[in-house]
């Protein structure tokens, strides 16, 4: 097919241009700058989503930009979901930020730049854009976390995130340089080829791999690189936590998939055993620590750690020489990541919903008696909680189902048993939220004051969790098709 060389980056270029446009426009529009920035950001994300949809193609991957970027179905789907996740996250946070005068234009600008970073990460087929995309996302996120500059917690969280995040980026870059040193290549397919041809220096390669896995683990927020997660989640303004916990996880999934599965399939047995430890530790620690939390954001942070551990279960269950099982395993992980984004958006959306001017919902107790205050949102939160606990008919069940099926197919029975035991323990803290909402009396009877668009979107989000749980087939098949079209299995 004859396409211009920049074609794989069409959507990214649009986002970059629009980010600059937002910067300029808000500088001139003084009075309406805030709402203008919000509207432009949403418009940009929507148009980007459309561009992604129109360029959606199941044909084989197209490499462009001198081999730096790749256009494949996997990337398009992930980008599409990133756009939607960002749109939802901005929508949920809008009212909250406006009430606290935090909706400065820079917020939306940073959100767009962050989206750009994530999209580049997803599209990258070369170590350089992969790293640049990651840094663009991370730097925007550091600033966003510290966005409430008058809040000590927020600035502290930003600082903590920045110091640790910069270190992790450094580790990743160090790993990349070793891989380059060993293989002499920066393009992922070329790296894969060099590794499989046994041309590379194995010890250097393995050392580099350790650093890569460490960097990826940090971005996913899994044990032992998880320390920042609860503090940053709690310290950041809730809308930022919402952003932080959703789309970047998909980008980090893409990072892991591109680096490990596309770039280093020849070292699969090594990174699989590393990820196995990371996943097992995350599932154990995440679930146990979440039991003891009183703050809902911290609880969801720990639960997120365990969810990312579950997601890794799919990623590490590829079987050498069996491309078909490997694709099924990876598609399980992808389905898990998408399901998690959907659930975490709804969960933090609920926290925003319960907040109002002068009141930040943050404690688990704030969910007390929600069924009395609003039966509809109580039932939606019930969907989210049972979905996260992995109870059918919700999407979270099929996510767990898919990764556990992959783990069993790969023959890691101990890992499956561990995951099962831990999800039983995890069920307790989700049940506790349901208990507070349904069995207890409300602490205050103030009617929910969130904006109609938040309420509507949250309803759609919650219903989607149930609807996709009833009919998960399409999304599962889509994940599989996407992975088949990309070159993850060599």
């Amino acid at each position: 097919m004859n396409v211009p060389d920049f074609f794989p980056a069409a959507a990214e270029i649009f986002v970059a241009v629009m980010a600059l446009a937002v910067m300029l426009a808000t500088a001139f529009a003084r009075d309406t700058a805030r709402s203008l920035a919000y509207a432009l950001a949403q418009f940009t994300l929507l148009v980007t989503a459309f561009i992604t949809i129109f360029t959606l193609d199941t044909a084989p991957a197209i490499h462009g930009f001198g081999g730096m970027l790749v256009h494949d179905l996997l990337g398009s789907i992930l980008k599409l979901i990133v756009c939607f996740a960002m749109m939802i996250a901005l929508l949920y946070g809008h009212g909250y930020l406006a009430e606290r005068k935090l909706d400065r234009p820079e917020y939306y600008l940073l959100a767009l730049l962050m989206t750009l970073g994530m999209m580049v990460m997803i599209t990258a087929s070369h170590l350089l854009p992969l790293y640049i995309g990651l840094e663009m996302m991370s730097l925007s996120l550091y600033a966003l976390v510290a966005f409430d500059r008058d809040s000590v917690r927020s600035t502290e969280a930003g600082m903590k995130y920045f110091v640790l995040g910069a270190l992790a980026s450094g580790l990743l870059l160090y790993g990349m340089s070793m891989i380059y040193g060993a293989t002499g290549a920066l393009e992922l397919p070329a790296i894969a080829q060099a590794v499989s041809a046994q041309a590379a220096n194995k010890p250097v390669l393995l050392l580099g791999l350790v650093f890569l896995v460490a960097g990826i683990s940090f971005k996913l927020g899994v044990v032992p690189f998880h320390m920042w997660v609860p503090d940053v989640y709690q310290g950041a303004p809730t809308p930022v936590t919402l952003i932080l916990s959703s789309a970047p996880k998909l980008a980090a999934f893409a990072l892991a998939l591109r680096l490990l599965a596309t770039g280093l399939p020849g070292l699969a047995e090594h990174w699989q055993s590393m990820l196995m430890l990371v996943a097992a530790a995350s599932i154990v620690l995440g679930n146990l620590a979440a039991l003891r939390q009183h703050n809902i954001k911290r609880m969801l942070a720990y639960s997120g750690i365990s969810h990312m551990g579950f997601m890794l279960l799919g990623l590490l269950s590829g079987i050498a020489g069996k491309a078909d099982s490997t694709v099924v395993a990876y598609s399980g992980a992808m389905f898990y990541a998408i399901a998690y984004v959907l659930m975490t958006l709804a969960a933090f959306g609920m926290v925003v919903l319960l907040s109002r001017a002068g009141f930040d919902a943050g404690e688990i107790e704030d969910f007390k008696g929600l069924n009395r205050r609003s039966p509809w949102f109580a039932v939606l939160m019930l969907f989210v909680m049972f979905s996260m606990a992995g109870i059918p008919f919700f999407i979270g069940f099929f996510a767990k189902f898919a990764v556990l099926a992959a783990v069993i197919a790969a023959g890691y029975l101990w890992l499956a048993v561990l995951a099962i035991v831990m999800s039983l323990i995890g069920a307790f803290y989700y049940l506790r939220i349901v208990k507070l909402m349904y069995f207890d009396e409300p602490l205050d009877d103030t009617p929910l004051a969130a904006s109609p668009e938040l309420q509507l979107m949250l309803s759609v989000n919650g219903v989607a969790i149930a609807a996709l749980g009833l009919m998960p087939g399409t999304l599962l098949s889509l994940c599989k098709t996407a992975l088949l079209s990309s070159s993850v299995t060599g």
Binding site: N371, P375, I391, F393, F401, L404, A405, I420, V421, L431
Partner: protein, 493 residues
């Protein structure tokens, strides 16, 4: 006639009706919620009747089959069908749902729509469990049915409801999660989730044993078998009357049903090898829990323990692996569905008036509530297995099967007739007979028309099944024979 998907209707009418009831909203529309719930329940029962009428008792094959692809990615299908074993449970479930709706008519005054909806949705999900012929579909229904019951116990339950609800949920989940692994393992080795396909799949003895114990965990907790029965008395005591009724009449049957649908046919050799273990656990449940029941001061707890003891009879019957045992156990399950529902409703009648379940608070109820005392008498007799009541048929058949298997096991099992009579009748005596114990009892009003109707219907069922059990046993023969033939053939190479 055969084109109408009756099984799907039996599942989805209550669920959709439940959502409709939820839509009626706050308690000011309580009346509408009740009416819609009742109509849904009746409609839900009506669509199960053609299942019985159109059922071919001479065939052991699955009937009323429905099939659609659900999740192609995992080869999961929406496969439904019933045989002689599951037929009666679908009917029983739909029937009990009507009673529960009527029983909660006046008693439940807060969040009426949510209460009714929870029961209707639960009823639909449970029909799904009995009708599912796909392992994943079964599991999905099996797990999902926990949610409404968790809410029912937690929202409308007694003072310790939170603990009871969470304990119930976690115990059951702990049992069923290993089953999920087994289902995935079976999928891995056979490439399919179809239960009938699994029944034919060859499995080595080592595999079978592991699978058997995972199933034992899942279904043993649900039945519940000793020693994992502790959640049941808590759940029963705290649950509202309707919750107790569904729990005893239907939810406990899910575990026992799992044994006949999964354990016996899928891992027959392991089931045979480990049958002595299950029989021993069942005998402990029958005898030891029978003594525990004798010591209870709380009526609901007493009936809860009596349920465990009766369910011990069911698992005992299954694992004797002879026709008398299995059929007796199935009859016992249906009979227990009627009798335990009736017992809990009777206690509910007393509790609504006195707000106490302590036996010591009662005495001489017959003086103020003669009609009630008569019904209660009948159900108490059925609970201890008096001939001409449904309780007799099942217990007697299981004991016959047990004697056939081993005389001493039969003898031990038969002690239930004494123990059951002891704890039930002693409780009955203390509550109903004697002089009027206190002013509260003196002020009791006899049952009204609504309560009378429910108890009369149940009484009719109990008697009909006791006097003429043919309609119940007739449909089972072929299926049970086929099951036992399959089990005895084994599947070892």
């Amino acid at each position: 006639m055969t084109d109408i998907p009756f099984l799907s209707l039996a599942i989805w009418i209550p669920i959709l009706g439940g959502l409709l009831v939820l839509a009626t909203g706050p308690d000011r529309n309580a009346r509408m919620a009740r009416v819609v719930a009742l109509l849904t329940a009746i409609l839900g029962f009506a669509v199960t009747l053609p299942l019985y009428i159109g059922f071919d008792a001479a065939s052991a094959a699955m009937q009323f089959r429905e099939h659609a692809v659900w999740i192609a990615h995992f080869n999961i299908h929406y496969r439904l069908g019933i045989d002689g074993i599951s037929l009666w449970f679908v009917l029983l479930n739909a029937f009990i749902t009507i009673l529960v709706v009527i029983a909660g008519w006046q008693v439940i005054q807060s969040r009426v729509a949510q209460y009714m909806a929870a029961f209707l949705i639960m009823s639909g999900l449970m029909n799904g469990i009995f009708a599912a012929l796909d392992g994943a579909l079964f599991y999905v229904f099996f797990e999902a049915s926990l949610i409404p019951l968790y809410l029912v116990i937690g929202v409308w339950g007694g003072p310790n409801r939170v603990r009871a609800a969470i304990k119930f949920f976690l115990f059951t989940l702990a049992g069923s999660l290993p089953m999920l692994l087994v289902l995935l393992y079976l999928y891995q080795s056979t490439g399919s989730f179809e239960i009938l396909h699994w029944q034919r799949a060859a499995l080595s003895m080592g595999e079978q044993s592991l699978i058997f114990f995972a199933f034992l965990a899942a279904f043993g907790v649900k039945v519940p078998m000793w020693p994992v029965h502790t959640w049941l008395p808590d759940a029963h005591v705290e649950a509202p009357t309707g919750g107790s009724v569904v729990l005893a009449a239907i939810a406990l049957k899910l575990g026992a049903y799992g044994f006949v649908r999964f354990s016996l046919p899928i891992v027959p050799d392991a089931a045979m090898a480990h049958a002595p273990l299950v029989i021993a656990l069942s005998l402990i449940a029958v005898v030891y829990i029978g003594f525990v029941a004798l010591a209870q001061a709380d009526m609901k707890k007493l009936v809860a323990y009596s349920s465990i003891s009766h369910m011990g009879f069911v698992t005992l019957g299954f694992f004797m692996l002879n026709p008398l045992g299995v059929e007796g156990a199935l009859i016992q399950m249906i009979s227990h569905g009627f009798v335990s529902a009736a017992m809990f409703l009777c206690i509910g009648v007393l509790y609504d008036r006195m707000h106490s379940r302590q036996i010591a608070d009662y005495g001489g109820v017959v003086n103020t509530m003669p009609k009630f005392a008569a019904f209660f008498m009948l159900f108490a007799m059925a609970n201890c297995g008096l001939p001409a009541t449904s309780g007799f048929v099942g217990e007697f058949t299981v004991i016959l099967g047990a004697v056939q298997y081993n005389f001493w096991i039969g003898l031990l099992a038969a002690t239930t007739l004494i123990l059951g009579a002891a704890y039930t009748l002693w409780m009955y005596k203390r509550v109903v007979f004697g002089a009027v114990a206190n002013e509260n009892v003196a002020g009791l009003a006899d049952i009204g028309a609504r309560e009378c109707l429910i108890l009369a219907v149940l009484a009719a069922c109990v008697l009909a099944m006791g006097i003429y059990p043919f309609p119940f046993t007739d449909v089972m023969h072929t299926s049970v024979d086929e099951l036992l033939r399959h089990v005895s053939a084994g599947k070892l190479p």
